[in-house]
């Protein structure tokens, strides 16, 4: 009954298993550099809202890195679709589109969790004190679901690899820098603040930070994140149906 979902998971994890070492190493490099450069270099002796900057930064890095890894499913799907045509196997198999989305989403979320885990380890090594609330777990699940389903949607809508790079440059990179990962969004000018509150990472980084620094979680933000996840799951499903003949 879940043959499509299980088949995609089998494929993705079989491939991942063979490349895990390289991928884990690659996904550790940029958070490590951010921690050293911003946490220790630039942020030493700086407080944000009464907490050390490095403690403020780590939840932002978790949000950023898990976003990057979950969204990177777009790039992988792009390659399987346009270069190796492996995606055609899914489309011609007796598999409903919803199971394709579910399988790829779970794989993308797994990559997001793994990158979050790497930052926890780095934070521990750097001596950063985090207070992990149970709400962190639903928050990271919803957060990675948002960006992996956005990744699936984008991968189905782009026409080639170049389009994919454009999306990364104009949407993902600005979002990573402006949506509360490195500094509080409240410090942005009013117009910028309005723009960043349209973007899902703003809510994710606020909720994830609150669940890791002993802050109060704004449940409205969790609801908004859930809304983004539902919308992007639907767009991913529609996009897969669109490429199916």
């Amino acid at each position: 009954m879940l043959n499509g979902f299980l088949g995609i998971l089998y494929r993705e994890f079989s491939v991942y298993r063979k490349k895990a070492g390289k991928q884990i190493l690659a996904s550790s490099i940029s958070p490590l550099l951010y921690l050293i450069a911003f946490g220790y270099g630039f942020g030493r002796n700086v407080d944000v809202g009464g907490i050390p900057y490095i403690t403020f930064l780590v939840p932002g890095l978790i949000a950023m890195s898990s976003l990057n890894q979950s969204f990177s499913i777009a790039q992988e799907l792009n390659i399987t679709r346009f270069y190796f045509h492996i995606f055609d196997i899914y489309l011609t198999a007796p598999v409903p589109p919803v199971q394709i989305v579910m399988g790829e989403a779970v794989y993308g979320m797994f990559k997001g969790f793994l990158s979050a885990g790497i930052i926890f380890i780095l934070a521990y090594i750097f001596g950063v004190n985090l207070i992990i609330s149970p709400l962190f777990f639903p928050a990271i699940i919803i957060h990675t679901l948002i960006f992996t389903t956005l990744g699936i949607t984008v991968a189905m809508l782009v026409r080639d690899h170049g389009d994919q790079a454009t999306v990364n440059n104009f949407i993902i990179t600005p979002m990573i820098f402006l949506c509360g990962t490195f500094f509080p969004v409240d410090r942005l000018p009013a117009i910028m603040k309005t723009i960043v509150y349209i973007l899902p990472l703003t809510y994710s980084s606020k909720v994830i930070r609150a669940t890791l620094t002993g802050g109060d979680v704004d449940y409205r933000y969790l609801m908004i994140m859930s809304g983004f996840a539902i919308v992007f799951f639907i767009t991913a499903l529609m996009a897969v149906k669109r490429v199916e003949g």
Binding site: G7, S14, V15, H85, I89, T92, A93, P94, V95
Partner: protein
Amino acid sequence: MEILTANRLIKQYGKKTAVNDVSFTINAGDFIGLLGPNGAGKTTTIKMLTGLVKGDSGSIFYNGIDFKSQPIECKRLIGIVPQHSNVDKDLTAYENLYMQAIFYSIPTNQRKNKIDEILDFAGLIEYRDKQVKTFSGGMKRRLTLIRALLHQPKILYLDEPTVGLDPQIRRSMWELILRINQQKLTSILLTTHYIEEAERLCGKVMIINNGKIIIEGSPEQLKGGIGHFVLEEFVDDAIKEDFFETKEDALTHIKDCVNSCKIREASLEDVFIKLTGKRINA
């Protein structure tokens, strides 16, 4: 028994009509060739039949089941070997087939045996646990072929299955394809622009040009329609061709040749030239 009924399929890309009112049926055990030059509409037809391309109009039925309303049921009956091998190079041969076994709901306790059996059938059992990236082109094609067979489809689509292979490997692929048709009783629709491939393998050939099937029949019938023997007369830089039903008729006329002449058997290429004025492999 009709396995496939395709009715009035049409597909347009902008102003170009890639598939133009194509209709045909395939019965159990048939081996049918769709022969035509590059760009004739062969691959688009296959993509429409397998759900990779949405047609503009027309209907497709597998075993009487409407492909549009029940795609999942229909896809269970289909096996596909695409023009470009899409086996996963990062996986082993076994893993590629195991993924297929999951997709087609082959019971867990039967998967290993079925995979080993089919790897053996294609002569790939000793490469079972090797990553596909280490395979030669011919091995990848054979793996793609048996992957399409693992769930015992009623109909197998082979889209240019030997394109890019050297002649020796092409012949070994032909033997494997014929064994599939004869031993596994699978109906086959094969697209090709290789004349010899269509003549050697197919019981019936449909010749397609500019998206339209222009003639169909057994290779013998099609050649019989123009004459089984060709008398070629070399006039300056051109070749003048006359067709005859028997070799004796051709021999009678060879006496009238002023220039250098030769008699040869007619091929499906001659049928195509006669109908379109062009060569298939121009």
